[in-house]
């Protein structure tokens, strides 16, 4: 009985392996339009990378770019566990590190963008916020990212640089969750990236503060060693690093490295 199950399971897993092989092995049919470039990218890159992906498809007829957007550390885990991907763009060097440590990157990662924190407030700004020290008010509801995720680590660094102690009512699991709380008016303020505020405007207003310079987040990108499409993978990385990539990213609120 068990043996029969084992056979069935093996057959199933074989089927899925060959299935992956089919989509990944595009060299055999360059003109048939069956090639797919798979890019794993941090959630904060959703808008910019989708635009760059469309441009890349335009200049590479027959090639499709498929994105997997998510939390950088989750993506890194998927890559080191063997998920078939060509390119990885992370929201912080710390989340890129497990991938390079594992030998899964084809070369040293390159920093292609920087993001700085801003104070996000609802558009009517009930807390009358001007800077980081305003976030320490006892009745003010502030939400931050949890320290375990990059935006939370950056928030902690910025608060330390400003010499203030922020007591958040919640430590959210990612930057978009912070933004949701601010957007719905549940929180009076939150610390998010400048590019996130830009994407959520006009419901959310961003307030710049000087100490953000002490907590700037670098975004590294790397083509992966086991990329099913090594050629296009390298070209996509070059596009992101190019002037065109820079224009798209700075337009969305990122800074050039």
């Amino acid at each position: 009985m068990l043996k029969r199950i084992a056979v069935a399971v093996t057959a199933l897993s074989l089927a899925s392996v060959t299935g992956c092989g089919d989509t990944g092995d595009g060299e055999a049919s360059p003109a048939s339009g069956g090639r797919t470039l798979t890019v794993f990218a941090a959630a904060s890159l959703t808008e910019t990378f989708t635009a760059l992906g469309a441009a890349f498809e335009g200049s590479h007829p027959g090639l499709k770019v498929r994105f997997n957007f998510g939390g950088s550390s989750t993506l890194a885990k998927q890559i080191t566990e063997g998920a078939p991907a060509d390119v990885f763009a992370a929201a912080s060097p710390a989340t890129m590190k497990p991938v390079t440590d594992d030998g899964a990157a084809s070369g040293p990662p390159r920093v292609f963008a920087r993001n700085r924190l801003v104070i996000a407030v609802p558009k009517d700004d009930p807390g009358k916020i001007h800077g980081l020290p305003d976030l320490t008010g006892p009745t003010l509801k502030v939400v931050l990212c949890a320290e375990q995720v990059p935006c939370g680590a950056a928030a902690k660094k910025a608060a330390a640089a400003a010499g203030v102690t922020i007591r958040p009512v919640s430590q959210e699991q990612d930057v978009k969750a912070v933004l949701t709380k601010v957007r719905l008016g549940e929180a009076d303020a939150g610390l998010v990236y400048r590019s996130d505020v830009k994407a959520a405007s006009p419901q959310v207003k961003g307030i710049e503060f000087a100490e953000s310079a002490k907590a700037i987040n670098d975004y590294p990108i790397a083509a992966l060693a086991k990329a099913p499409q090594p050629g296009p993978a390298g070209e996509f990385v070059r596009l992101v690093l190019s002037q065109q990539g820079r224009t798209v990213l700075t337009g969305a609120g990122f800074e050039s490295p």
Binding site: I5, S73, T74, A146, Q148, V149, V169, Q171, G185, E186
Partner: protein, 253 residues
Amino acid sequence: MLLLPALAGLAFLVLPLVGLLVRAPWSTLGTRLAEPQVLEALRLSLVSATLATVLCLLLGVPLAWLLARVPFPGARVVRALVTVPLVLPPVVGGVALLLVLGRRGLVGGWLDSAFGLTLPFTTAGVVLAETFVAMPFLVISVEGALRAADLRFEEAAATLGATRWTIFRRVTLPLVAPGVAAGAILCWARALGEFGATITFAGNFPGRTQTMPLAVYLALETDPQAAIVLSLVLLAVSVVVLAALRDRWVSAS
């Protein structure tokens, strides 16, 4: 004929658990468990899941009775609406709760201005989020039990002059007690594992709204080993509680 799929089903359910056990960092287990944050999250999980179950019982049993015993127009639609939280992705449920019970929500705005009461970011918010997600389990099992129960007992009580409330308390409830118990157990288990609605509606703050599933998720970001330990604790506690209660309530009655 049935044995093969049954065994495959069992293997499918149990193998992920085996995976956790195999990958668990047994050597550092003791020190990790003794961390105050872990105990705090566990305590909060147990308290809020239990309170949520009580709330589900108080609201859900009468609702199940209404659906099973009182014919009214639109009962079919109401029954479908009761199962909405089952279908809704929990995160969406959390957002929906914010829109109604949040500081600027339809009801929450009034609660805030009239009583100075805000629910998001509080333990009460955790209990509400868990209740929202878990209540359908209770309503569905109790309604099923009510439909299966023999109506003649209730009719006999009515002919002897018992009021509706007396019949419900003295005849109906004892008849469907196993169904209520089974529903409450399901409800508690669902509340204990609740993640999406909780983190969206109540946020995440250690000691106040950080339940075990939230602690597991955040630990996964930086320290997968700690996440495995936390999951094992949650699993062990729930298996022990469920096994003990099931024997006492369900099979005995």
